[in-house]
């Protein structure tokens, strides 16, 4: 007999398993919704490619998919540069801030992400001064169950967010990096979306279809301006 079938689950075990299944399903649903949101955003960003290349396409200046992809790549990278120079400057400002601080103090070993939080919520030089921090090394927070050391209580709070003048360089750097980095990633995502859109357009615009073609119908007049491409 299959040993799996021999497993007997208690009522409590069944409830736990059902709860876990619902949690997993909910997690995947949330991820699916977030992914759909990203896909829609990228489709919206990719629409900019239509604006960039529409003039040359509608005027029949580009005549092949390869020409369209090449032209769209040039226009896309130019548009990306126009979008990205501001976040890049913000990032450079953040880096320059740290470099100026190190040059002034003559301390090039400064760790931006250090967690020197000072004492009793005062002082400190790192980004940890702006965070809640708990002491997970406190042995009193743990207990031993069947030989395994598990967390038994909420650890002791060792730092609350507080402002420190010594860490102001770190604040400026972190703020610039978060803002500039996010902005730059969004611009890169738009660049990727436009590139995908350009590839789709190059296949779609020059596509010829015979779905509604009837061999028995007379051909259209050669001077008809509504001649499809």
């Amino acid at each position: 007999m299959n040993p799996i079938l021999l497993i007997k689950l208690t009522e409590n075990d069944k409830r736990v398993i059902i709860a876990l299944l619902f949690a997993i399903i909910l997690l995947f649903v949330i991820i699916g919704l977030l992914g759909s949101l990203i896909v829609r955003t990228m489709k919206w960003q990719g629409k900019k490619c239509d604006t960039l290349v529409s003039d040359v396409v509608t005027n029949h200046i580009v005549k092949t998919p390869h020409q369209l992809r090449k032209y769209a790549a040039k226009k896309n990278i130019r548009h990306f540069i126009k979008q990205a120079w501001i976040p890049i400057i913000i990032i450079l400002v953040g880096v320059a801030t740290i470099c100026i601080r190190n040059a002034v103090v003559n301390d090039w070993s400064y760790d931006i992400l250090n967690f020197n939080n000072g004492t009793e919520n005062q002082g400190g030089t790192g980004i940890g001064t702006l965070l809640f921090m708990w002491d997970f090394n406190d042995p009193d927070a743990y207990t031993t169950v069947w030989g395994i050391k598990v967390l038994a209580a909420w650890p002791k709070l060792i730092n609350q967010p507080h402002f420190s003048v010594d860490a102001i360089w770190c604040y400026v750097y972190i703020a610039c990096m978060v803002v500039g980095g996010t902005w730059y990633v969004i611009a890169a995502q738009a660049y990727l979306a436009r590139t995908i859109r350009a590839v789709k357009l190059s296949k779609m615009v020059f596509e010829k279809s015979l779905d509604n073609f009837d061999q028995n119908t007379p051909p259209q007049q050669p001077n008809n301006p509504a001649q499809p491409m």
């Binding site: 399903i25 997690l27 995947f28 649903v29 949330i30 991820i31 699916g32 919704l33 977030l34 992914g35 759909s36 003039d55 040359v56 005027n59 200046i61 580009v62 020409q67 032209y71 040039k74 226009k75 990278i77 130019r78 990306f80 540069i81 990205a84 120079w85 890049i88 730059y184 990633v185 611009a187 890169a188 995502q189 660049y191 990727l192 590139t195």
Partner: protein, 220 residues
């Protein structure tokens, strides 16, 4: 429920594809950064050579030339049409002067004539033989109706005779379309006549009008 299951399936799909998306995003971010640095170096060179930051692409140049040719085909002589409104003072006309063009330009010239209040003031206050002093505004406006087809001879710039001719003929031509508006003026004149006067004691002579409008002469 179906939508929920679809979202669940998409969630699994996106989890599987997310690493590839991150890799593609990182590649494009790096490519973009390299392109930015490359363009930065190029822009420095372009700055010292006097070129644009983004030179015109061949396709864009071809499109621009095509549009210019199309524009030139649609508007073969756009320059004179654009310059005409700038010559609105009537002094800068060249040999291509046309009366119809002149009539179209100073459109606000129609307004100034009916000066009813000045008529009353002149009747009650001023001496009958004096002419009403010309106001500065109507002088250029009266010139517009002078260019109607009956005044084709008024092209030579002699100041005095032109002034008389403009006062005579244009007023006749000008008053005709406004007869309905002048009727209340006559009624007001009858209402506000001085006591002891009759219709024979005064007359309104439109032929002696100045630029300001109407002259009133009392015949004793």
């Amino acid at each position: 429920m179906v939508d929920l299951l679809k979202a669940f399936g998409r969630g699994i799909l996106y989890i599987l594809c997310f690493p590839f998306f991150l890799v593609a995003l990182a590649i494009f971010a790096v490519i973009g950064l390299l392109a930015f640095l490359f363009q930065l170096i190029k822009s420095i060179i372009f700055f010292f050579t006097g070129q644009k930051f983004f030179p015109e692409l061949p396709e864009d140049k071809e499109l621009r030339l095509m549009r210019e040719a199309e524009q030139a085909r649609l508007n073969p002589q756009p320059q004179p049409a654009n310059n005409q409104p700038q010559q609105g003072n009537g002094l800068m006309f060249e040999e291509t002067y046309d009366e119809d063009d002149f009539l179209e330009e100073p459109t606000p010239a129609v307004a100034p004539l009916p000066k009813q209040t000045t008529i009353e003031e002149v009747v009650f206050e001023e001496e009958p033989e004096e002419e009403v002093p010309p106001t500065p505004a109507p002088a250029p406006k009266v010139e517009a109706p002078a260019a109607q087809p009956q005044v084709q001879e008024v092209k030579m710039p002699e100041p005095e005779p032109v002034k008389e001719e403009k006062q005579e003929e244009p007023l006749d031509d000008f008053l005709d379309p406004f007869e309905a508006k002048e009727e209340p003026v006559e009624e007001e004149l009858e209402v506000y006549r001085p006591k002891g006067t009759t219709d024979d004691m005064y007359s309104i002579d439109d032929d002696d009008d100045t630029d300001s409008g109407v002259n009133i002469n009392f015949d004793d």
